[in-house]
Each structure stands twice: as C-alpha cells, then as structure tokens.
Symmetry: C2
Subunit: 277 residues, 2 copies
Amino acid sequence: MERIEQRACFGGWQEVYRHHSSALDCDMTFAIYLPPQAGHGPVPVLYWLSGLTCSEQNFITKAGAQRYAAEHGIAIVCPDTSPRGDGVADADGYDLGKGAGFYVDATQAPWAAHYRMHDYVVRELPALVEANFPVTDARAISGHSMGGHGALVAALRNPGRYRSVSAFAPIVAPSQVPWGEKAFAAYLGDEREAWARYDATALVSGELRERLPLLVDQGTADEFLSQQLRPELLHVACETHGHPLTLRMQPGHDHSYYFIASFIGEHVAHHAAALHR
Amino acid sequence: MERIEQRACFGGWQEVYRHHSSALDCDMTFAIYLPPQAGHGPVPVLYWLSGLTCSEQNFITKAGAQRYAAEHGIAIVCPDTSPRGDGVADADGYDLGKGAGFYVDATQAPWAAHYRMHDYVVRELPALVEANFPVTDARAISGHSMGGHGALVAALRNPGRYRSVSAFAPIVAPSQVPWGEKAFAAYLGDEREAWARYDATALVSGELRERLPLLVDQGTADEFLSQQLRPELLHVACETHGHPLTLRMQPGHDHSYYFIASFIGEHVAHHAAALHR
C-alpha cells in the first residue's frame, strides 16, 4: 500500500492510497480522512460510495464532509467506483464499465474477471483499512446515486456489518430502471433472481436482511428522479414489509454535490450517533 | 446578463451568470451564492478572487463556503481570473494570460486591450451585482494565492470601498517573486513604479492607502511558500509602517483547497462581523 496524497484538513489528514486489490485483481486507489481524534486512539469509519463516473476524488474535494468528520471523530473512507487499469474490461458510455461498477460481483464475461466491487467494498477494503489505520471495526455506510444503491445493498445484504446506513438520491430499484437494467444485464446476466440480490427495493422484502433503518435524502429537482431513482418504489416496499425508512424529499435540490454538501453534515451526525453508541 | 447555473445549496442558491464586461471588452462568467436571508431583504457581499488557472467554479465547488455564508447571511461573488474568449491575448504557461490576470489593469500590448481585471473586480462587477441582486453596498474581499494578492491590493488601493479584507496564501510582494515579475513585466512594462501600485507589500508603505487590518492565513507546508508567497515581506512592511496585520501560519497545510476549506469558516465570520456592523 502506497500513500499518494496527504493534505492537512480541519486538524486531521485527507490521504489517498494505492494498493493491489485481490478481489478486483487490479491496482486501486481509495481516500481516507483521518480526523484529529485518530491521533489519540482508534476511531470508527464511515464508508462513502460515489456515483457514476466518479473516482475517490469527487467526494473528498466537493462534499465538505471533513469538517463534520473532525467534529464527530470519525474517519471517512472513499473507494473508487470500479476496477481500473489497462487490463480491465470497459464499455462505451458512462454507465457501464470503468466508473460504473454498480457495487456488484459480476458473473458474466468479460466483467467477472475484475468487477467484484461488492466483495471489495464490503470485505477487502474494510479489512485493509482496519489493519493499517487507527480505526475500529465500527462501520457505517453511505453514498450517492449509484453509490447510494451500493450503500443500501451493502447494509441490507450484510446483517451486523454496519451500524448505520444512509443514501443521497440512490438508485433504489435498479432492476426496474434503465441504468440498472443495462448494468445488471451486462454484469449479472439475464436471470432476474440474481438482480434482486443487488436491489434495495427487492431486498427489504427478504427475511434475512439487515433491519437497520434507512435514511434517504432526495432532491425534488433531481434530473434523474422520475426515470432512474424512483424513491417511491423503496417507500412502498418499506411500508409493505415494515422496514423503517426516513425518506426526506428536499425541495429544489438537484443531483449535484451542492445537494450532498447541504445535507452531509446531518448524515455524518446520524452515523456518528450510531458509531459512538 | 444570462443565468447559466442555478443550484439549491444550504437553503439558498448557488448561481452562475454570463454577461458582457465593458471593462474587459469580452463576455465573462461569475458565480454568486445567495443565502436564504436574501429572500427576505438585501444582504452584504463577500467578493472572492481565485488563484492561477482557476475560473469562477473552483471556489464554489471546493471551498464549502456556502454553509458559512448561509449561517451569516452574506452573499459570495466569485469572478473569473482573467478575460476570456477567442479574441483575448494568451501566452504559453499557466502563469500569464488566460487564467492569470493578476487583477491588474494592463498597459502593455497585447494585454491592454482586455486585461483590466482590477477595474472589473473593483468597479464594474460590484455595480452589476448591486444593480441586479438583493444585496447591499457593504463589501468585503478575500482570495487565494494570486487572488489573495488581488484582494489585498483591491482593499489597500481603494479606501472605503471594502469593510474588511483577508487572504489565503497570498502573493504578498509580486514585484519581488518570479510569478509577479513575469506577469507585471508583461502587463505593466518595465517601470517598477507601476508595479508598486499592485503590490501589497509596497502599498502598505504608502500614505493614501486603506488602513483596514489584514487577515492572512498561510500554510507552513505550502509548496510555494519560500519562492512565490513570502509572507515575511508583508509582515516586515506592516511592522515598519504600523499597518495592522494578523498573519497566521497554519502548521502542515499546503496550497490546496483543503487548506482554504479548513479556514474559510473563520474568514467568513471575520467578514460577516464587519459587514453586519
């Protein structure tokens, strides 16, 4: 593991590392914000999953989350959004291939060789982080858009692994919207049962799911709201199956980082309360 | 004037406009953050001047200042850093020409035709903003690097025009460092007397200057500290001439937006106190 960036920020350090991922069979970068409290003892970790086209850089440069992480004494880890490198399969378009891993473990050629982002995010990266940084194994997870989908699925599929989960403008029902249908058909094949295991709206109807309450913020002026995000599908599923959901429709907000920046402080506080419990 | 971006942010609006500048004789873009309080009555304005290579976008996407502006009820206006467009002279290198206007009114060919950023920032842009937005004529000014130089010079040269001034990692003595020597020779010619009128360290020795106290933050790990920024030159000039200066050396901080983000809240509070007085 090699440190490639280190910047003082709100009394702590914003760092970026490169390492070889065995889950993805390629080199990966991830970012970690270590708050000032990490200088005195281990701190819990919030994992942040970014959306389509993003790398580990978008959240750390645009969300302004470090201030809140420093206030609450939590680290924030941001992985990249797909495997990377010359040997990794890619596709035309921003919504499949590099930058568009959808946080699934692909089963179909040519994707299965590297696209195992669920395994990477849920298992390999936390193990690496917990072995190499002053952090505890108390974990929370959040994300935006494709990453909001990833965060909800990571939490729902892995009971006990996270203390809290939230999402900004998540793709709540990828099996039912164009972004998800394109990606899941490529990565997972035609069997819809395989898709349901990576679909938050489908997962909340399952018996073995995590029961954590879901905190979701969604802008009402989001340009992807009605075709790709469709939070009402998650709302209905949670109502039907008794899963706790706080869905906040935020007037006037779009899909951008201005939306994330406006509410990330409340999400960090939400996660900090669970992580420090 | 045409609005080209509008995004909800911390209860207010982050907007970007395009207009024709008569000072610069070209089309320009600028950003304005209107806090929630601007919906109920006019608010004072902090002008932010960015550094080399920047546009109006860098500060609004990376500094996280909107939160503080919303807390304190002030607008923030961010101009571009040079004239723009196909008809505008440019040069090789990031430190002269487009993206590197140095906030001077050029007197030399080919620059004099468009490079009048001092006039634009101090006179034309505030007049445009005050005529078209719910703002008062209470003004503050700040900036980073080349923009920190621009902010200090704008305030020192224009007594009574600003209520407060601050800077992050400013080029405090452009006449004495490579960035400034290259730019000033091109824009202002060989006469060093002309340079002194755009040099904060030289201006604090003048009799007709603004007497406002200067607030300057400077990272100790800034990669440009010893060759281009040299805050000790301003410190000595202020000591010699009795100009109030608060120079804060911030341990471990570099020249990046992580540095700005870490302290912009304190600067906004500093300006808000003067603007609401």
